[in-house]
Amino acid sequence: MSVDKQTVRRIAKLARIALPDERVDPMVAELNGILGWIEQLQEVDVEGVEPMTSVVAQKLRLRDDVITAGGDATAIVANAPQTEDNFFVVPKVVE
């Protein structure tokens, strides 16, 4: 499988990474280089093989329903580029 310009633009959009026009062709080439190389996986016979979901053989641990965090809004917004009254501020979102 290989990608074309349109696909690369679509992926970049999905990933929210701006891709200027002049970067599209080089990116198509780079991704196709990688994807072409990955293609060798199609040789493997995976009939009846379960995909790995976790490399550790352990059950999920469950924690108790106790409040152990929160209560410090200033620490939550301390690193934010723009805030007001402990809200994060972003450009207007239109629904």
Partner: protein, 491 residues
């Protein structure tokens, strides 16, 4: 699917069947969030109930809350559903400011709960089964506020990471009444179970309603999804409007575009969401920060044993006590109401009398006052006492209502009040006879008349009751009036 012709809606040319399925998001009742130790309480200051995990700080990891899992299992059991011993959490990837990690942890391919069913109650005591497709656990998103500033939106993550149960039905509902009845019943069940407070005003329950229409017998039509409908009334309105909209389009030769729509309560309309339908591609994959969730059969059994009596079972039991199906349905609709009724039974109230009393007198007063049954100024014991006074002929029905008003306003022991205020029913025959004789003597004209029109007996009874201040035993008055006037039989 049973044929229910009566449900069809009429278009200009054809009759149409409305097909409805629902996805309900119910907030799990828990102290802390699904994957973090931050609190879940409603209405806190912005970002004050946010952990570093909820804010998706670098390197933060989710750890699941046992209570939330238990609540999902409990709900599944309440929906008579299959509990999956192994389930998996997946990431649903998309960008939005109220989704801090850029993905929502949800369950996609392997939900914790599989197929089940809910019995809905329709007017006239009719019931219907609505199939449940699945229930899965997932995180709620934060909240974006758009009205603070013209250029900006504000983001509060207090809700981010709160546990939700997404309950998905089969497309089994056939009208706005069924859709509303389903949501009402689901709300009743989760409130009985104590797994969700069902508070729609605070967003604890929101429904996405999938609506399509078809001519009877045809395959399902293209559906539209109405997002986040948050009241019973709006559900009915949204379904009515949307079904009509689709019928109009189809009958005028158009076709339905599958889309997500919003219900505008002010206009009573649905409209397509403005965000351009950029093809969503959520790139689900198993969350590598979490292992598969495995539930032991022993734990599931333990939860099953702790399940309370649910509304359907309770209703059957109430009917067995002599209640009508309607009265039983009214009483079990809210757990608090059923509890109140049962508390009266515990005070030896007679079931049918108690049900009538509650449905005819008490609930009406509560509704009018806007007071919940939990905050009722009259206790079950006080109500039971009033009913006992009535049953023992100590007071009349009229006095019983007056007594209820007195206890409502002033409180106190109904027995004490009856004695102190002389509200006892007058059953002493000679006293009643004296009053009857006085009325007959004072109204010779009416005595003439009653001989021709025996129905006028009631007028004499009324006069006597009035004179007694309602305390005379009406049956005794009636008997004596008839005897004195020489009117035979018990007509």
């Amino acid at each position: 699917m049973s044929e229910r012709g009566a449900k069809l809606i009429k278009g200009a040319t054809d009759a149409w069947e409305v097909v409805i399925g629902m996805e309900v998001h119910a907030q799990v009742l828990s102290e802390a969030k699904l994957f973090s130790g931050a609190a879940t309480a409603f209405g806190a200051d912005p970002n004050s109930q946010v952990s570093f995990v909820d804010a998706a700080m670098p390197g933060m990891l989710p750890v699941i809350n046992r209570k939330c899992v238990e609540q999902a299992v409990r709900t599944g059991l309440g929906l008579k559903a299959k509990i999956n011993h192994r389930s998996q959490f997946d990431r649903k990837n998309y960008f939005y400011p109220d989704l801090p990690a850029g993905y929502q942890i949800s369950q996609y391919k392997q939900p914790i709960v599989g197929e089940g069913e809910v019995t809905i109650d329709l007017p006239g005591g009719e019931t219907r089964q609505i199939g449940i497709e699945r229930l899965h656990l997932e995180q709620d998103a934060g909240k974006s506020l758009h009205d603070q500033r013209p250029e900006h939106s504000y983001v509060d993550l207090n809700r981010a990471g709160v546990a939700l149960m997404e309950i998905v039905t089969k497309p089994d509902m056939r009208g706005s009444d069924e859709a509303a009845a389903f949501l009402r019943k689901l709300r009743t069940i989760v409130r009985y179970l104590g797994t969700c407070d069902g508070n729609m005003d605070e967003g604890s329950m929101r429904a996405d309603v999938n609506i399509s229409v078809r001519r009877p017998g045809e395959p399902y039509g293209t559906r539209c999804e109405i997002k986040n409908v948050n009241s019973m009334r709006f559900i009915a309105q949204a379904v009515e409007y949307e079904a009509r909209r689709q019928v109009d389009i189809l009958e005028s030769g158009g076709s339905i575009r599958q889309e997500t729509r919003l219900f505008d309560p002010r206009a009573g309309e649905t409209r397509a969401m403005r965000s351009k339908e950029e093809a969503h591609d959520y790139r689900y994959f198993p969350d590598p920060d979490l292992l598969p969730l495995e539930l032991s059969p022993a734990w599931i059994n333990e939860i099953a044993r702790s399940l309370p009596e649910l509304p359907d079972q309770k209703k059957v039991r109430f009917i067995g006590l002599g209640l009508s199906s309607y009265d039983a349905a009214v009483l079990v609709a809210e757990k608090e109401t059923a509890d109140y009724f049962e508390a009266m039974l515990a005070e030896d109230a007679e079931p049918k009398a108690a049900a009538n009393w509650l449905n005819n007198e008490v609930f009406g007063r509560l509704n009018k006052a806007g007071v919940s049954v939990l905050a009722s100024p009259v206790s079950p014991a006080q109500n039971a006492a009033i009913l006992r006074l009535l049953k023992d002929n100590v007071i009349s029905g009229k006095i019983a209502k007056d007594l209820l008003d007195i206890v409502w306003d002033e409180g106190g022991d109904p027995y004490v009040i009856v004695n102190a205020r002389g509200l006892r029913q007058m059953s002493d025959a000679s006293a009643i006879e004296r009053m009857v004789d006085a009325v007959i003597k004072a109204h010779p004209d009416k005595v003439e008349e009653v001989r021709k029109k025996p129905k006028l007996t009631g007028w004499f009874v009324g006069q006597v009751m009035k004179q007694s201040g309602g305390k005379a035993n009406p049956q005794a008055v009636n008997d004596i009036v008839k005897a004195r006037l020489g009117i035979g039989g018990q007509g």
